[in-house]
Amino acid sequence: MSEDQILLKVEFGGGLELLFSNEKKHALTLPARVPADNSTSPAPSEKETKPLDIAYLIHWLRDHRLKERAELFMENDTVRPGILVLINDTDWELEGEGGYEIKDRDEIVFISTLHGG
């Protein structure tokens, strides 16, 4: 793996996978530096960049993996309230939430609490 790429695993649970082609597990390779404005389309090179973080990952997942009803995944530039995020099996609230800088081979889990039963 080259140094400017980051390998990570993403997992969806609690029904959230239904928005992502019903695939629970996704192995991703993303650039180590990404546009600071979280835009995920190919960017002009002069754009301001930042290290890959959870906020960017959320935007990237919405733009490139989500298949339906984006409003059930995102709200106000972050995940919708009621979706839990774990970074390497730790509550993202302990890791800086969207600002957490993703490291190579991190595992990020998104779980919806909103589905009843």
Binding site: G13, G14, G15, L18, R80, P81, G82, L84, L86, D89, T90, D91, E93, L94, V109, I111, S112, T113, L114, H115, G116, G117
Partner: protein, 372 residues
């Protein structure tokens, strides 16, 4: 310096508790989660040794975790309870049939007897066939009324004293908000009760009343409990959905909001003025279940379905139309007569066909969601 668990000061924290803001490790989380439920059970004196208790099990997150925790606490603290799983099959293809597989898995894992009752066997209708008849509007009314009665009847068949359900703190707070927004003060006064019971009736309680949904989901995740999480394929309860989104926004801004709303609900003292409008309790003339008119809601809904007047049980107007359209024809499918206070446990596999004077269960008119 690495952060350490606020409780044991040795392990790395994995969770921020919404109720307290504490950062705690996995072992401490399991311990406080289970112990808080245990304390809730003790404080409310929910059980007596020897009680037969049915866990209302849907295969969803709440009831899956409830089954696990009830089994754990019963063993750890020697409650002396006989536990059962009780599931209702509403007859929703691709939804309930899949979730019941999860319940069957729970049955094996926890070695608890399981009873599944279907709308089809009780009412002669599945939710699929009801939706075909009445459309998606109002179908949740049928489902809610039918489920409540089916759970009580299933409990009577199992000869249990008590049904525990997976309703959690978020569900209770949501119901408080909904009752406020509807101006339903009578229900506001009782919707925070942990336990509903009248004389000679099956008790219902919510051991997760103070347990946050976030922690239930985290508990299931860290314990690797498998649960079923698909939204019902028929129209969801839109009003509750709005209350839920609102509550989740409040929680994001201030996590204690959920427990604070429950506290506000508990602290409300509702005067007699507000509750006197609740109709007098009667016994259904046809099936023996609790009713506020001559027929209970389920019998009215069923008669409407059978006579092709689906909204007969939905609105007062519909019911009057049904009454005006003549007497009930012979040969209509009806619900078997209900005898609530069977003194001896009946054979769990037999169906309820006994007749006689049922005492009528006191069913609180709490707006409950079908928590999982």
């Amino acid at each position: 310096m690495p952060r350490l668990c606020a409780l044991c000061s040795t392990q790395r924290p994995i969770l921020k508790r919404p109720k307290t803001g504490q950062q705690i490790c996995k072992d401490c989380f399991f311990y406080v989660f289970e112990t808080e439920v245990h304390n809730t059970i003790l404080e409310a004196k929910l059980f007596q040794p020897g009680d037969r208790v049915a866990i209302g099990a849907s295969g969803g997150k709440d009831s899956t975790v409830l089954a696990h925790v009830m089994k754990t606490l019963n063993d750890r603290y020697d409650y002396g309870l006989e536990l059962f799983l009780l599931s209702i099959d509403e007859g929703i293809t691709g939804y309930r049939d899949d979730s019941l597989e999860t319940v069957k898995q729970n049955q094996k894992e926890y070695n608890l007897p399981l009873k599944i009752l279907s709308y089809n066997e009780f009412y002669g209708w599945t939710m699929d066939s009801i939706v075909e008849e009445v459309g998606r509007r109002n179908n949740c009314t049928f489902c809610g009324v039918f489920r409540r009665q089916a759970l009580d009847r299933g409990a009577a068949m199992l000869g249990v004293d008590h049904i525990v359900t997976g309703h959690n703190a978020d569900d209770v707070a949501e119901t408080v908000l909904m009752n406020i927004m509807r101006g339903d003060i009578a229900r506001l006064g009782r919707c925070t009760a942990i336990c509903t019971q009248g004389e000679d009736t099956i008790k219902r309680s919510k051991p997760f009343k103070y347990t946050y949904e976030k922690e239930i989901v985290m508990y299931a995740y860290f314990k690797r409990l498998t649960y079923f999480s698909t939204e019902c394929i028929y129209s969801p309860d839109a009003y509750r959905g709005h209350a839920r989104s609102f509550l989740k926004m409040l929680e994001a801004a201030r996590p204690s909001a959920i427990i604070d709303i429950i506290y506000s609900g508990e602290a409300c003292e509702v005067g007699e003025e507000a509750t006197k409008e609740l109709k007098e309790r009667k016994t259904c003339k046809r099936c023996g279940y609790i009713a506020s008119n001559d027929l209970c809601k389920a019998c009215t809904l069923l008669e409407g379905l059978e006579r092709g007047m689906g909204n007969a049980g939905i609105t007062d107007r519909g019911r009057k139309q049904l009454e005006a359209s003549g007497p009930t024809p012979d040969g209509l499918r009806t619900i078997p007569f209900f005898q609530m206070n069977a003194s001896t446990p009946t054979d769990a596999t037999s169906s309820v066909t006994t007749s006689g004077q049922g005492s009528g269960a006191r069913i609180s008119p709490v707006v409950d969601v079908s928590a999982g």
